[in-house]
């Protein structure tokens, strides 16, 4: 009796959750979260969307360059034994491209935050920094605590 009740409640919960999520995410718009989370007006959304669409090609270009550089690094590692000067050079180039990519990304976040009302912009910036850079900081903290570096 109890098991049947729990099964009915659980089944209804899962089904309702799944159906609602599917319906609400059906739009497929990448910027839906911005619109909902920061209650942006249509005009603000238009500005943000323009920035987003301008940023995407640059982002894809950087990704392609990084992928190409990683392929060169892979080739250098395969060609030589150990960490040769060529490998170090390629590592540095990959790192430089990643840093440039990260800089572009942060710049984009700043531009988008300025297209929003001030309070929403601040919140957006804090959240994006937490979601992108924050992961790296956590990873670095974990690594430093494991190795005893402070």
């Amino acid at each position: 009796m109890i098991l049947a009740s729990v099964a009915i409640a659980g089944g209804s919960y899962l089904l309702a959750c799944k159906v609602c999520v599917r319906q609400m995410t059906a739009s497929g718009d990448d910027l839906e979260w911005l619109h909902r989370e920061f209650q942006l007006s249509d005009a603000e959304m238009q500005r943000v969307r323009a920035l987003h669409e301008g940023y995407q090609p640059r982002c894809h270009e950087m990704c392609a360059r990084i992928e190409a550089k990683k392929a060169e690094l892979e080739a250098a590692m395969t060609a030589g034994q150990g960490v040769t000067p060529a490998v170090r050079e390629k590592l540095a180039e990959v790192a430089a491209l990643r840093a440039q990519c990260q800089g572009n990304m942060l710049q984009h976040f700043y531009e988008v935050s300025q297209a929003m009302p001030p309070e929403q912009g601040r919140r957006y910036l804090a959240e994006m920094r937490r979601l992108t850079l924050g992961f790296h900081e956590q990873f670095e903290d974990t690594m430093s605590s494991h190795h005893g570096h402070h």
Partner: protein, 111 residues
């Protein structure tokens, strides 16, 4: 007709014995009649005199009636659905947020 014998008392007794032996009487378990009287007393007791176990027995018995079982199933279904819809909002927000982040955070920069 001449074969039918007149009714004899000893034949009745023998018939009775035969019938009883054909249907053996099962022995009642020990304390059976006491248990029956206790159940009768419990059923006649006022509600404040019942123990927790008796009250639970009564509640379960009541709930197991078809109309109440159906009502309970309906209540559980509605509660589960409402909880699912509320939680869907949270899940949807997280999915939408992750989709946006994935669109601006290149794979190479992700941990």
């Amino acid at each position: 007709m001449s074969a039918i014998k007149p009714n004899n008392g000893s034949d009745d007794a023998r018939l009775g014995e035969l019938l009883r032996s054909a249907r053996p009487q099962a022995e009642l378990p020990p304390g059976f009649s006491n248990a029956v009287w206790r159940r009768i007393e419990r059923a006649n007791q006022p509600s404040h005199g019942r123990s927790l176990a008796d009250s639970l027995d009564l509640l379960v018995g009541w709930l197991l009636r078809p109309r109440f079982a159906l009502a309970l199933a309906a209540v559980m279904m509605i509660s589960g659905t409402i909880a699912g819809i509320s939680n869907a909002g949270v899940n949807t927000n997280r999915i939408a947020r992750d989709r946006y982040v994935a669109s601006v955070n290149p794979p190479d920069l992700r941990p």
